[in-house]
Symmetry: C2
Subunit: 199 residues, 2 copies
């Protein structure tokens, strides 16, 4: 008898392929990677890869969609965590920064390989990014409206807050002397300064 809760062998193979694709894209970029590279890293033949995925673009799309959905969920969870915009911002910036430090390898692909997506996939991912942007902008605007934040340009502040978090994936190094938690807690302090938190 097989346990229905146990992932099927096909699921495990797909997961192994996604992991191999993340490693290959992060090392050589999407355009520098061949499906052969990915198949080899996953320990299978190129023909076996095509049983599971039609193209390397499909792999990129799966990685990108999972990354963006996870980030959007994280942002919404942070916002739902409190009624106070300052607490919401603390929560969102902490988790966003920690994620981009901890998962910098996949976050780099998610953020820097958008141009390699097919037009349809890019539209889908752009819509997810816009939802993340809107959540952050609404959060800053709510804070200003509630008298908790004081910033002359909530829209630009929201762009800068997300930008700071995303760029962690570019500069963070596992052996750089800072843990993801170090970065996250300092970034919370800086975020509250950027929006002009009132005591």
């Amino acid at each position: 008898m097989t346990d229905p809760a146990e992932p099927s062998r096909a699921d495990a193979t797909r997961a192994r392929l996604l992991e191999a694709a993340v490693a290959a894209f992060s090392e050589r970029g999407f355009h520098g990677t061949t499906t052969r590279d990915i198949a080899a890293a996953a320990g299978m033949s190129p023909a076996a890869l095509y049983v599971h995925h039609r193209s390397k673009e499909e792999l990129l799309h799966l990685i990108s969609r999972a990354g963006h959905e996870r980030t959007l969920g994280m942002v919404r969870e942070g916002i739902a965590s409190s009624d106070d915009p300052a607490e919401q911002l603390r929560h969102v910036v902490h988790d966003f920064a920690a994620h981009h430090a901890r998962d910098h390898t996949s976050a780099r692909i998610v953020n820097y390989e958008l141009a390699a997506l097919s037009p349809d996939h890019l539209r889908e991912i752009t819509a997810l990014r816009q939802q993340i942007d809107h959540e952050m902008r609404d959060l800053v605007e709510r804070g200003v409206a509630a008298g908790r934040f004081d910033t002359p340009d909530p829209r630009m502040a929201a762009v800068a807050l997300l930008s700071l978090g995303i760029d962690i994936a570019r500069w963070f190094r596992d052996d750089g002397g800072w843990t993801p938690e170090d970065v996250a807690s300092r970034y919370v302090e800086m975020a509250l300064r950027i929006v002009g938190l009132r005591p």
Copy 2:
């Protein structure tokens, strides 16, 4: 007679190749670009390209070195512009942000294709980046020592300030509704908040 001040035809050709390389790298990434693409964009044969440059890596190195030297010069000029660390920071952040918005195409290559450099070239470029990092860190530390800035972690603040500027090259769009000057002036305000400028 030829005018010695006039750039030679070889110089003009090299400049055209660099411009074509920036366009090609920014469109398809370094690994996705062939020397044939670059030669075609510059209106010459691949063989003619090799007369001027040994490889596409050499082109990337020239683009990267020019970009980093220009940025380091800009940072040092901003620091030399005043005795007051707050004025220095205003100047540096303004010019750094405006540059990454205005020249976002080349700034993206300069910042996101480092892994494609040869080991020797990467060492050279890394040394330039470290000088930029040190200038920014020293500036924030001088401001704290002078009682002008108030930040619990000058090193992390300096990383965040450069990170904010660099990431502009990723998100800025010429048709996005903001001019490079809009971004630069808002980023100066946010930078002064990050370092905790004292009135």
